[in-house]
């Protein structure tokens, strides 16, 4: 085990996969010598050369669509959107091309493309540079969407994404880049679509993604002092969704809180809530609660933006409310 940051773990995953497979290449704005807008690709061009790691114009439609074209013809592109919000800019390429090309052409192709997209709040980046748009891809049949919350997950999920024969959108959280954590030293792969129980508990389940996993853990810590055992489940993605792990947890605790930075409408929390309401109704001892971002665009002010996403207190309150229900 080595302690490293989330950003460093992504960098390591890229380096390992570039090293392992000559068909892997990286393209995006400023990913080359500059090392990426957030420093995540630092050193990769120097090490692997300009053929393997290179800058592109500000052309997100090409970036993703070009990635599809390269993937269809035998390569394994890893493209970087500078902000996850730009998923909307390249939505047709992601939603209608990357996701559907294989299916609509009768299964004759595979599309081993990875789209890295930094999401989440970043200290005043505003309504078009702070979103967590994974919910926009919930219905993108053909696509996988993963969302690491720790350095180890960042490493293992990205390596699996690069090796997948399917297009994978890898949404990394900008606010977590500096987060340190233990990472296994050897080859570390995490299967796509498998949730991780980040903390075991018996009284209430919090299903949370990326930054909210950490707030959920903080809430769990506080509540533990009161004897309340919170289970924190990190689905590590939204498509596929590991409903088995979620269901098992809810069947144990009987109480479900679902939490992400994105607003509830159209978010993965709604998906989890709906699924549980379909499949575990009788286990529920309290109403499901979605503790999610406010249903507003994200304000630019770095003070105010914090109020657009759930706090640790919001989660604590929700847990208490679930436990005191009826």
């Amino acid at each position: 085990m080595t302690v490293m940051t989330y950003a460093r773990a992504i960098n390591r995953a890229l380096a390992e996969e570039l090293e392992r497979d000559a068909d892997v290449f990286i393209m995006g704005q400023d990913v080359g010598a500059f090392g990426g807008a957030f420093g995540v690709t630092r050193g990769l061009q120097e090490r692997f050369g300009r053929r393997r790691v290179f800058d592109t114009p500000i052309s997100e439609n090409f970036l993703v669509g070009g990635g599809v074209g390269a993937a269809l013809t035998g390569l394994r592109p890893v493209v970087e959107l500078q902000y996850a919000d730009f998923i909307a800019v390249a939505m047709d390429e992601i939603y209608n091309k990357a996701a559907k090309w294989r299916y609509m052409h009768g299964g004759l192709f595979s599309v081993p493309l990875v789209i890295r997209a930094p999401g989440g709040l970043a200290g005043g980046a505003g309504p078009e540079h702070s979103q967590s748009p994974e919910g926009l891809l919930l219905s993108a049949a053909g696509l996988h969407v993963v969302t690491p919350s720790t350095p180890a997950d960042a490493l293992g999920l990205l390596k699996s994404a690069v090796r997948s024969s399917n297009p994978v959108v890898y949404i990394e959280h900008k606010g977590l880049y500096g987060l340190k954590g233990e990472v296994p030293d050897g080859e570390h792969l995490i299967p796509i679509g498998v949730a991780d129980v980040k903390r075991e508990g018996t009284d209430v389940t919090i299903v949370a993604w990326t930054s909210m996993v950490h707030r959920a853990l903080a809430a769990a810590e506080t509540l533990a002092a009161e004897g309340i055992q919170v289970e924190v489940v990190d689905p590590r993605g939204v498509r596929p969704l590991d409903t088995d792990t979620i269901l098992a947890s809810v069947q144990k605790t009987g109480r479900l809180i679902v939490s992400h930075e994105a607003p509830a409408p159209g978010g993965a929390a709604s998906e989890v809530a709906a699924y549980v309401a379909e499949h575990a109704l009788d286990y529920l001892a309290a109403p499901i609660q979605r503790v999610c971002g406010a249903d507003i665009p994200i304000p630019q002010s770095s003070d105010l933006e914090q109020y657009a996403i759930p706090s640790v207190d919001d989660l604590i309150r929700a847990c208490r409310s679930a436990l005191s229900y009826r």
């Binding site: 070009g66 074209g69 052409h105």
Partner: protein
């Protein structure tokens, strides 16, 4: 550069395409296929003339107008019928066909984007891939005058020129995007003029003349293979049928159609073959018969196919 074999090949190719389409239209009339179809009749010289210069391992992104490009590139025509019939023997394994979505990787046919302009970035990406892998493959990307106004063209043309990608952008300018005439949609007189904006060669050719198209594309292919980068070729052509089957065609006159029908490559080109000594009446007739037979045989094969089970729709979502 066009030899006798080229002339004859182009004629045979156009005839195959037109005969195939004619047979498909009969299937549509008979109610055997409910797919949307955008007939290519009239544009064979462009589709076939532009595709013939390619090697089998070159890549093709065709567009929704006719199947001439895909047929010429090597999609087996019985399978193509099967696609439209919704039979499992089709390239899509029974998912159906219509607006798009036939492919044949072994002949470099990468498919088509149903959202117009979606092919541009994919073509650039395939070109990038050829360069990356160090092959001398080229990519031929077809699009209509209408699709040329999608922003994806700009992004893709820029990187193709910037990185010297082996891509031939082939615009089939048939004067209309559904009902909208080019003059009401495009701010320049000729789409080829847009090549200047990317510093790549741009040229306009007579899209009713298969040789003109063949020569222009051959030159562009040669250039691309040699590392000379992309080209934009605009072929002036015309569709004889409606945008879709059933189109009222209120937007154009009978006279205009007559004018273009006088240039029908399937009428004019065989005459030229004879006039210029590349073939005689007998060869023409023999070709007509053998093509008819080929198409009939393919249709017969296809019609023996079968619909897939409903469970087919759940296959191939993921690899």
């Amino acid at each position: 550069m066009a030899t006798r074999d080229t002339y004859r090949g182009l004629y045979t190719g156009m005839l195959r395409v037109a005969t195939w389409e004619q047979r498909l239209l009969r299937m549509i009339e008979e109610g055997r296929t409910s797919g949307f179809y955008h007939a290519g009749r009239g544009q064979e010289a462009t589709a076939v003339g532009a595709t013939m210069p390619l090697r089998r391992d070159d890549y093709l992104l065709y567009d929704h107008r006719g199947m001439g490009h895909a047929i010429t590139k090597g999609v087996p025509i019985d399978r193509l019928f099967s696609d439209f019939l919704g039979f499992r023997e089709g390239t899509t394994g029974g998912l159906g066909a219509g607006i798009v979505h036939i492919a044949w990787p072994e002949a470099g046919v990468l498919g088509q984007s149903g959202t117009l302009g979606g092919s541009f970035p994919i073509a650039a990406g395939a070109g990038l891939s050829a360069l990356y892998r160090g092959t001398d493959q080229v990519v031929l990307c077809f699009f209509g005058d209408g699709a040329s106004n999608r922003g994806t063209f700009h992004e893709s043309a820029n990187v193709a020129a910037l990185w010297n990608l082996p891509v031939i952008w082939l615009c089939e300018n048939n004067g209309y995007a559904v009902s909208v005439p080019t003059a009401e949609a495009i701010s320049v007189a000729q789409i080829s003029q847009r090549a200047i904006a990317y510093d790549m060669p741009g040229t306009t050719v007579d899209g009713m003349d298969p040789i003109a198209v063949y020569d222009a594309v051959s030159a562009a292919v040669e250039r691309a293979r040699a590392g000379g980068g992309p080209s934009l070729i605009e072929a002036m052509t015309y569709r004889y049928r409606g945008h879709y089957e059933g189109d009222p065609q209120t937007y154009r006159t009978r006279e205009e159609r007559d004018e273009w029908e006088a240039k029908d490559p399937l009428v004019m080109f065989p005459r030229r073959l004879i006039d210029e000594g590349y073939a005689d009446e007998q060869w023409i007739e023999a070709t007509r018969i053998s093509v008819s037979e080929e198409i009939e045989a393919a249709a017969a094969t296809a019609l023996q196919g079968s619909k897939p089970p409903v469970s087919r729709i759940f296959d191939n979502v993921y690899a």
